[in-house]
C-alpha cells in the first residue's frame, strides 16, 4: 500500500461521516440514559448546539503553552486513531491511512491524546485537575490491560498484526467472527472497553457535572469544544477497532452504523445498571475480572 493524494479527501469524508454519526450516537445514548432514569432527556440536535456554542465562544485565558495545546493533542489523538484504522473493510475510500502502521500503532496511539490532555490539564494548576488526572490514568492503564491482552490474543490467533488482515480473516458469516472463534478474548476486551469508554460506572475521573474534579472543568470555550469533538469521535474510533477485531468489521456503512451502535449500547447499558466505582475499585475490577480472562485468552490461542 502506498500513499496517493486522493486519500486525503477520502479520509476527510470518512471523518465527516463518523463525526456526524458520532454526534447522533452521543445524543441517542444520553437520551436513552435519561429515559431509563425516567427523564425526558436532551433534544436530538442539542449536542450540535453545544458544540457550535463552544466553538463560537472566545476566551482570553490560557494557563500556558501545554494548557493551550492540551485539547489539540487530545483531538489529534482521536482523529489520528480513526485515520490509522480502516473504517470500512474492502473499501478503498475508507481505508484511510491504515498503511502507515498496524494494530500496534492503534494500540499505542490511544495514549497520545491522553498524554496531551493530561499535560494540558496539569498546567492549569488546579489541584483538582491533578486529582482527576491521576485517577484517569490509573483507571485507564488498568482497563487497557485486558484489552491489550485480548487484542494480542487475536493477533496471535490470526498470526498478523494488520487490522485489515484480521478483518479479512473474519469474513464469511458471523460464525467466523472473533466473537465466536475466541469468545474469551472478546469478553476480556469488552471489560476493558467499558473502562475506556469514560462512561458510568467508570467515569469518576471525568468530572461529570456533579463532581467538580477533573480536567474538563478547567477548559472552556474553544478548548472545551475541541475536547467535546474528541468525546464524540474517540468512542467511535475505539468501537471501530473493536468491531474490526472482534465483530467481523464492516463492509459497508449500514453495517458499520449498526455494529457501532450495538457495541456502544453495551457500555451505555452497563452504565445505567451500575453505580459509579471509585478508582481503586475499578482497578481491582479490571484486574480481577478482565485480566485473568485476557491471560486465559492468550494462553489458549
Amino acid at each position: 500500500m502506498s500513499f496517493e493524494w486522493i486519500q486525503i479527501p477520502y479520509a476527510l469524508l470518512t471523518l465527516l461521516i463518523v463525526f456526524v454519526y458520532g454526534v447522533f450516537m452521543t445524543t441517542i445514548i444520553r437520551k436513552m440514559g435519561a429515559r431509563a432514569g425516567g427523564r425526558y432527556g436532551i433534544r436530538l440536535y442539542q449536542t450540535f448546539v453545544d458544540l457550535a456554542k463552544n466553538y463560537a465562544l472566545r476566551s482570553h485565558i490560557s494557563h500556558g503553552i501545554m494548557f493551550y495545546l492540551g485539547p489539540v493533542f487530545r483531538l489529534t489523538g482521536g482523529v489520528g486513531l480513526i485515520l490509522f484504522v480502516p473504517t470500512i473493510y474492502g473499501s478503498v475510500m475508507h481505508q484511510n491511512f491504515a498503511f502507515a502502521g498496524d494494530l500496534v500503532l492503534a494500540l499505542y496511539f490511544v495514549f497520545f491524546g491522553t498524554l496531551g490532555m493530561a499535560l494540558g490539564a496539569g498546567e492549569s494548576g488546579h489541584p483538582y485537575s491533578a486529582v482527576g488526572i491521576t485517577r484517569g490514568l490509573s483507571q485507564m492503564t488498568a482497563a487497557e490491560l485486558p484489552f491489550v491482552l485480548a487484542v494480542f490474543a487475536v493477533s496471535l490467533q490470526y498470526q498478523t498484526l494488520s487490522i485489515t488482515e484480521i478483518v479479512a480473516a473474519q469474513q464469511g458469516g458471523f460464525l467466523s467472527w472473533t466473537l465466536f472463534t475466541n469468545p474469551i478474548a472478546v469478553v476480556a476486551a469488552m471489560i476493558g472497553f467499558l473502562g475506556t469508554m469514560m462512561r458510568s460506572p467508570f467515569d469518576v475521573f471525568l468530572a461529570p457535572q456533579e463532581i467538580p474534579i477533573g480536567p474538563p472543568t478547567e477548559f472552556h470555550s474553544a478548548y472545551l469544544a475541541l475536547m467535546q469533538t474528541n468525546r464524540i469521535l474517540f468512542p467511535i474510533a475505539k468501537i471501530v477497532i473493536y468491531m474490526n477485531l472482534f465483530f467481523g468489521g464492516a463492509t459497508n456503512w449500514p453495517v458499520f452504523f449498526l455494529k457501532v451502535f450495538l457495541i456502544y449500547l453495551v457500555s451505555a447499558l452497563v452504565g445505567v445498571v451500575f453505580p459509579r466505582f471509585r478508582v481503586e475499585q475499578s482497578i481491582r475490577f479490571f484486574l480481577i475480572w478482565g485480566l485473568p480472562l485476557g491471560i486465559l485468552s492468550i494462553l489458549i490461542v
Binding site: 489520528g80 500496534v104 499505542y108 488546579h126 489541584p127 491533578a130 490461542v301
Partner: protein, 1041 residues
C-alpha cells in the same frame, strides 16, 4: 652477587654494633639501622632480579663448610628472594616510618627491629627445621620488644598474651621437631620430602610440627592474641607484623607442608578456608581500623594457606598464584597500617581526614583494590589462575568458598572506604610527618609496580599496558588541572579511541561502541558546567570508560573479565561521589563483585581449566557443565542490568549519583550487562538445566523485572529514583527480548539498548539539571517549572514520549518490534507480564513531567533559571537524535538486523524505502509522523483561529469551581500521586528482595557479633583456643599416629 647470608650477617652485625654507640647518638644509630636495612633490601632485591631474569640459579648456602643435612644450610630461590624482598623492604620502610618512635626509645629498639627483620629473613632462608624454630623464637621475642614501641599501654597486655600463646606453640613445635628428627635421622627439611613421614609412623610428630607452624599463621579461632597486637601496636610495627611476619610464617608453613606429601594438603586447605571466611565475617563488625586490618590480615594469610593447600594441582603456577596473593596482601596491609598511623583516632570514620590529602585517598584505594584482588594488581591475576586451576581439578567448592570470603572482605573494606569518603571530614588539615607519608606513597608505588610485574609475567596481555587503562590512570596525574581542561581531554580521549578502533567492529560492537564512547563523550559535555578542579571525578569516570572500551574488544575470557572488573571499580568510585550515595555505592559494588565472581566461576568452568578461553569458544562448551556456565554468566551479567532479585543496588546508586554521573551509570554502564548477555546468548544459545530451558527462565526474569521495576517506579517521590527504577523495567524489556531467542527479539533488545541510552541519559540530565536548580529531587516539592525551565521541559517531554512508546517517536519502534517478536515466541505467560508493565510505565512517566513542570509553581522557585547551558546542550543533542531516529530508525538498525540474521534462520525485517515490514505487519515511521503532524498542525491552527487572543493568566486567577484554596502551597497534588494504584496493587511491592538480601547481611553480622565474643581478651582463654584448635584438628584428623 652477594651471598644471601649477608642479610643475616648485616642485620646481626649492625644490631650488635648499635650497642657500641653512645645512647645519645641516636641519629647515628638510626642512620646505621637504615643503612643495614638498606643493604639487606639491596641484597634481596638483587637476588630477586637475578633469579627472575635467569641471571642466577637457585643457590644453597652452606654453613660450617659441611654439606647438609649435617650442617644447617640456607637456600635462595625465586620464592625466597621475592619474600626476602618483601620482608626487608617492609622493614626498611617501616623503620623510616617508625623514626620518631625509634629515636625516642633509643638504639636498643633499633637493634630489636634489625633482629626482627633478620629473623624473618632467616625463617625464609633456612632449610633446617630446628633453625627455623630458633628464628621463630627470635621473631617472637623481637615482636615482644617491638610491641613496646606503641604509645598505647594496652599493647603491653597484648604482648603478654602473645608470649603466652607462643609458649604453647613452642612446646608443640619442639615436641614435633624432636620426634620428626627421630623418625628421619635428620633435621633438614629437604630430607623430609625424600621420605614421607607418615609412612615411618611419624604422622603425629609431623602433625604437631605443622600445627605449631600453622598456629603462627593466626588461624581462626586461635588468633585473639594477634588481633590484640594489631589493635594496639604501633602501626609501623603492625605493618611488619602483618606484611613481613605473616609472609615469613606462611613460607615456613609452606616449606614444611611441601615435605609432608599430599595427604596434609586438605588439612591446610580446611584451616585456611575456615580462617579466611570466619575472619572476614568477624571483620564485618569491627569499627576499630587497626583491629579490622588485623582481621583482614588473618583472613588473607588464611587464604594463602588455602592456596598452599592446593599446591598439588597448581604446579608451575603455584608461586605465581600464592606469591601474587601474598605480595599483594603484604604491600597493601603494610600500606594500610602505615596510613592508620597518620590518623589520630581509631574509629573507621576518622579516616575521613584523608580527604584533605587526595593522594592519600588514591593510596588508600590502591591498597584496598590490591587486597581484594582487583585489576591490575597481582591478586587479580592470581585469583584468575587459581579459579581455573581449581575448576580444572573439580575443586569448585573451594573456589566458591574463597569467592564468598573475598566478597565479604570487599564488603567491609569498601564500606570503610565509603565512610572515609562520605562522612563529614574535619576542616583543619592535619600535619603529616613527611617521612611517614613518603613511606605510604612508596608502598602504593610498589603495589603498582607489582601489578605491572604480575601482568608481564602472566600469559595474557599486561593490563597495565592496555591503552584505555593507561589513559584512565593518566588522569590521576593530571588531577591538578582545571575540570574543564580535563573534560576536553576526556572527550577527546573517548573520541580518539573510538576513531582508532571502530574499523574493526562488527555491527553489534559498533552499536555498543558508539554508545560507550561517543555516548560517553556526549554525556561528558554536561560535565563542562562544573568549575574548579573536580577532584576524583575524571580518574574513575575514565576508568569506567576504559573498562567499557576494553569490554567490547575483549576476545578472550580473561580480557573480558578484566575489563568487567575495571569498569566495575571505576563506576563504583564514580557513584560514590554522590552526596548520599555511600550505602548505595557499597551495595552496587557488592552486587557487582558478586556478579563478577559468578562470571569468573562461569568462565573457569567453561574453560575447564585451560585458560584463556576465546569468548567465541563458549559455543563449544557442551555437556553437563554448559548449563551451569550459562547460569553463572547470566547471573553475572544480570547483576549489572539489575534484573529483579539482583536489583536492589540500582535505585540508590543511580539516584544519588551526581547530575552528570547518573546518565553515565544508567545510560551507558547498564549496557555492559546487556552486551554480556548478547555475547552469552550468541555463543551458548539455549541451555537446559534439569529439563528447564534457561532462556525461558530468563524470559520470566526479564518480564518480572519489567513489571516490578515499573511498578516500583510509579510510587517514587524522588524523581531520580523514579528514573532509576524505570531502568530496571527497561532492562527487563531488553532481557526479555534477548531471551526470546529470535531475530526480532534481539532487534528489539538492540532498539532498547539505543533508546534507553538516549532517553535515560536525557531524562537523568534534565532531572539532574532541575534538581540542581531547585535543590531537591522530591517531585512534590517542585511544580510549575515549565515556564522557568522550558528547555528542560521539552527534553523531558520528548524523553517520556519516546520512553512510553507513544507514537510517533522512536520508542514506538521498540514496541512495534516487540509485538512482532512475540508473535513467534511460545512463552505466553511472561509475555503477559510485559504487557502489564507497558501502561504502568506510562503512569510514572506522566507523573515525572506533570509533577515537576506542571501544576503550580512553588514560592521558593519563582526566581529559578533554566538548567545550566552545558547540562542542556547534551539534552538538546538527544532530542535532535530522538526525532531523527524516530523518522529513520533504519540508519542504525538495518546493519544490525542483517548481522543478527546471521545467527537466526528466521527472517528479519524488510527495509524497503521508508516502510519497515515484518511478516506480521508494517511500520512506516515517516508516514505516521506526517499524518500526526498534519492533523496536529491543522487542529492547532484551528484553535489559534478560534482563540488567538488567549493570554497567559496567573493560575490563581482561575475560578475554582467549589472553593478557593486557602494556602497556595497546599494545592499541589503530587504526593502519593497514584494512590489508587497503590491501594489496588501495593501488595506486589512488598520488599521481598530487599528483605532477602537484608536478612543475609543481618545473618552475617549477627554471626560476627556472636562469634567475636570468643575473643574475651583473656590471654589464658586465647591459650585455651590454641589448644582447642590443635585438639579438635587432632580429633578431626582421626587421631593421627
Amino acid at each position: 652477587m652477594v651471598s644471601a647470608i649477608f642479610i643475616i650477617v648485616v642485620g646481626l652485625g649492625a644490631a650488635f654494633a648499635l650497642g657500641l654507640l653512645k645512647d645519645s647518638w641516636r641519629n647515628g644509630a638510626f642512620a646505621l639501622t637504615m643503612a643495614a636495612l638498606a643493604v639487606m633490601s639491596w641484597i634481596s632485591i638483587s637476588w630477586l632480579g637475578a633469579l627472575a631474569s635467569g641471571a642466577a640459579q637457585p643457590t644453597d648456602i652452606l654453613t660450617a663448610g659441611v654439606q647438609p643435612p649435617f650442617a644447617i644450610n640456607l637456600r635462595v630461590g625465586l620464592a625466597e628472594a621475592g619474600l626476602l624482598s618483601v620482608i626487608t623492604l617492609t622493614g626498611l620502610l617501616s623503620a623510616l616510618y617508625l623514626r620518631d618512635a625509634l629515636m625516642q626509645q633509643g638504639r636498643r629498639s633499633m637493634a630489636v627491629l634489625l633482629i626482627a627483620i633478620m629473623a624473618l629473613s632467616g625463617i625464609v632462608l633456612t632449610r633446617d627445621i630446628f633453625n627455623l624454630f630458633v628464628f621463630f623464637e627470635l621473631m617472637v621475642i623481637s615482636t615482644g620488644g617491638l610491641v613496646l614501641l606503641s604509645d598505647d599501654e594496652r599493647a603491653i597486655g597484648a604482648g603478654f598474651k602473645y608470649l603466652v600463646v607462643t609458649q604453647v606453640i613452642s612446646i608443640l613445635l619442639l615436641v614435633g621437631i624432636i620426634f620428626t628428627y627421630h623418625a628421619q635421622g635428620s633435621l633438614n627439611i629437604d630430607d623430609f620430602a625424600a621420605q614421607p613421614l607418615a609412612a615411618k609412623g611419624a604422622g603425629l610428630a609431623f602433625f604437631l610440627l605443622l600445627m605449631a607452624l600453622v598456629l603462627e599463621l593466626k588461624p581462626f579461632p586461635a588468633n585473639g592474641w594477634a588481633l590484640d597486637i594489631y589493635e594496639s601496636a604501633h602501626p609501623g610495627f603492625s605493618a611488619i607484623f602483618s606484611a613481613a611476619s605473616g609472609t615469613a610464617a606462611v613460607y615456613a608453613a609452606d616449606k614444611v607442608l611441601a615435605t609432608g606429601g599430599a595427604e596434609w594438603l586438605p588439612l591446610a586447605t580446611f584451616i585456611g578456608l575456615f580462617t579466611f571466611l570466619a575472619s572476614n565475617i568477624l571483620a564485618l563488625r569491627q569499627d576499630n581500623d587497626r583491629r579490622l586490618l588485623g582481621y583482614s590480615s588473618v583472613a588473607q594469610i588464611g587464604l594463602v594457606l588455602a592456596v598452599i593447600g592446593q599446591r598439588d594441582i597448581l604446579g608451575d603456577q603455584f608461586l605465581y598464584i600464592a606469591g601474587g596473593i601474598l605480595i599483594a596482601h603484604a604491600v597493601a596491609k603494610a600500606g594500610l597500617f602505615w596510613i592508620s598511623g597518620v590518623i589520630t583516632r581509631r574509629e573507621l570514620t576518622a579516616w575521613t581526614v584523608l580527604r584533605l590529602n587526595p593522594p592519600l585517598v588514591v593510596a588508600f584505594a590502591t591498597f584496598l583494590a590490591m587486597l581484594i584482588g582487583l585489576p591490575p594488581f597481582p591478586g587479580f591475576y592470581a585469583k584468575w589462575e587459581l579459579a581455573h586451576h581449581l575448576v580444572a581439578e573439580g575443586r569448585v567448592a573451594v573456589l566458591v568458598l574463597i569467592l564468598i570470603g573475598a566478597l565479604i572482605e570487599a564488603g567491609y573494606l569498601f564500606r570503610w572506604f565509603g565512610l572515609a569518603i562520605k562522612r563529614e571530614a574535619p576542616v583543619a588539615r592535619p600535619k603529616y610527618a613527611p617521612g611517614k607519608v613518603l613511606v605510604i606513597y612508596a608502598a602504593a608505588l610498589l603495589g603498582w609496580y607489582a601489578g605491572y610485574r604480575w601482568g608481564a609475567l602472566s600469559q595474557y596481555d599486561n593490563l597495565l599496558q592496555a591503552m584505555p587503562l593507561m589513559v584512565a590512570l593518566g588522569f590521576l596525574l593530571i588531577e591538578g588541572l582545571p575540570a574543564r581542561i580535563k573534560n576536553v581531554i576526556a572527550i577527546a580521549a573517548l573520541c580518539v579511541w573510538f576513531w582508532l578502533s571502530y574499523g574493526s567492529f562488527d555491527p553489534l560492537q559498533m552499536i555498543f561502541g558508539v554508545i560507550f564512547m561517543i555516548g560517553g563523550a556526549v554525556i561528558f559535555l554536561a560535565s563542562f558546567h562544573e568549575t574548579g578542579r573536580r577532584l576524583g571525578f575524571y580518574p574513575p569516570a575514565m576508568l569506567m570508560y576504559a573498562g567499557l572500551a576494553m569490554l567490547i574488544v575483549a576476545e578472550s575470557s580473561f580480557a573480558f573479565f578484566a575489563a568487567w572488573e575495571v569498569l566495575t571499580i571505576g563506576s563504583y568510585f564514580l557513584i560514590l561521589r554522590g552526596k548520599k550515595s555511600e550505602p548505595h555505592a557499597l551495595s552496587y559494588l557488592m552486587f557487582s563483585l558478586g556478579g563478577a565472581f559468578a562470571i569468573l566461576l562461569g568462565f573457569a568452568l567453561a574453560a575447564g581449566g585451560t585458560a584463556p578461553l576465546a569468548i567465541a569458544d563458549l559455543a563449544q562448551v557442551t555437556g553437563a557443565v554448559a548449563p551451569w556456565v550459562f547460569v553463572l554468566l547470566a547471573i553475572g551479567f544480570m547483576t549489572k542490568t539489575a534484573a529483579i532479585g539482583l536489583h536492589i543496588w540500582l535505585p540508590g546508586a543511580h539516584a544519588e549519583a551526581e547530575a552528570d554521573v547518573s546518565p553515565m551509570v544508567s545510560g551507558v554502564l547498564l549496557k555492559a550487562g546487556l552486551y554480556g548477555m548478547f555475547l552469552l546468548l550468541m555463543t551458548m544459545g539455549r541451555q537446559h538445566l534439569f529439563g528447564v530451558d534457561l532462556t525461558y527462565v530468563l524470559l520470566w526474569i526479564g518480564a518480572l523485572s519489567a513489571l516490578l521495576g515499573n511498578l516500583m517506579a510509579i510510587f517514587q517521590e524522588d524523581a531520580k529514583r523514579l528514573l532509576a527504577y524505570s531502568s530496571i523495567g527497561q532492562m527487563g524489556y531488553a532481557l526479555f527480548g534477548l531471551a526470546m531467542m529470535n531475530h526480532l527479539g534481539w532487534l528489539m533488545a538492540l532498539m532498547f539498548v539505543i533508546n534507553h541510552y538516549v532517553y535515560k541519559s536525557l531524562l537523568f540530565l534534565s532531572v539532574g539539571g532541575v534538581a540542581k536548580r531547585t535543590g531537591t529531587r522530591d517531585m512534590y516539592r517542585m511544580g510549575g517549572l515549565i515556564k522557568l525551565m522550558p528547555l528542560s521541559f521539552i527534553a523531558v517531554l520528548i524523553g517520556i514520549i519516546t520512553m512510553s512508546g507513544v507514537p510517533p517517536l522512536s520508542g514506538f519502534g521498540g514496541r512495534w518490534i516487540f509485538y512482532n517478536a512475540i508473535m513467534t515466541a511460545d512463552a505466553r505467560l511472561p509475555m503477559v507480564l510485559v504487557f502489564l508493565s507497558g501502561p504502568i510505565a506510562f503512569l510514572y512517566l506522566f507523573r515525572l513531567i506533570h509533577t515537576i513542570f506542571l501544576g503550580q509553581l512553588k514560592d521558593e522557585h519563582r526566581q529559578l533559571k533554566d538548567a545550566p547551558f552545558w547540562i542542556l546542550l547534551p539534552q538538546m543533542i538527544y532530542v535532535a537524535f530522538l526525532l531523527g531516529f524516530a523518522v529513520l530508525p533504519g540508519m542504525a538498525l538495518r546493519r544490525v538486523d542483517a548481522y543478527i540474521g546471521e545467527h537466526f534462520t528466521e527472517q528479519g525485517l524488510s527495509w524497503e524505502g521508508l516502510t519497515i515490514t515484518s511478516e506480521f505487519g508494517y511500520w512506516s515511521p515517516v508516514q505516521i509522523m506526517i499524518v500526526i503532524g498534519t492533523i496536529f498542525t491543522l487542529l492547532f491552527l484551528l484553535l489559534l483561529a478560534l482563540n488567538h487572543k488567549a493570554q497567559w493568566v496567573k493560575q490563581f486567577n482561575i475560578v475554582y469551581a467549589a472553593e478557593r484554596p486557602f494556602r497556595p502551597e497546599t494545592t499541589h497534588f503530587a504526593w502519593n500521586f497514584f494512590a489508587p494504584y497503590r491501594r489496588a496493587l501495593g501488595f506486589l511491592l512488598a520488599p521481598l528482595v530487599t528483605r532477602f538480601w537484608g536478612a543475609i547481611t543481618n545473618a552475617l553480622h549477627e554471626t560476627a557479633e556472636f562469634t567475636r565474643k570468643l575473643y574475651t581478651g583473656n590471654g589464658q582463654t586465647y591459650a585455651v583456643h590454641v589448644l582447642v584448635f590443635v585438639v579438635v584438628l587432632y580429633l578431626v584428623a582421626g587421631g593421627i599416629s
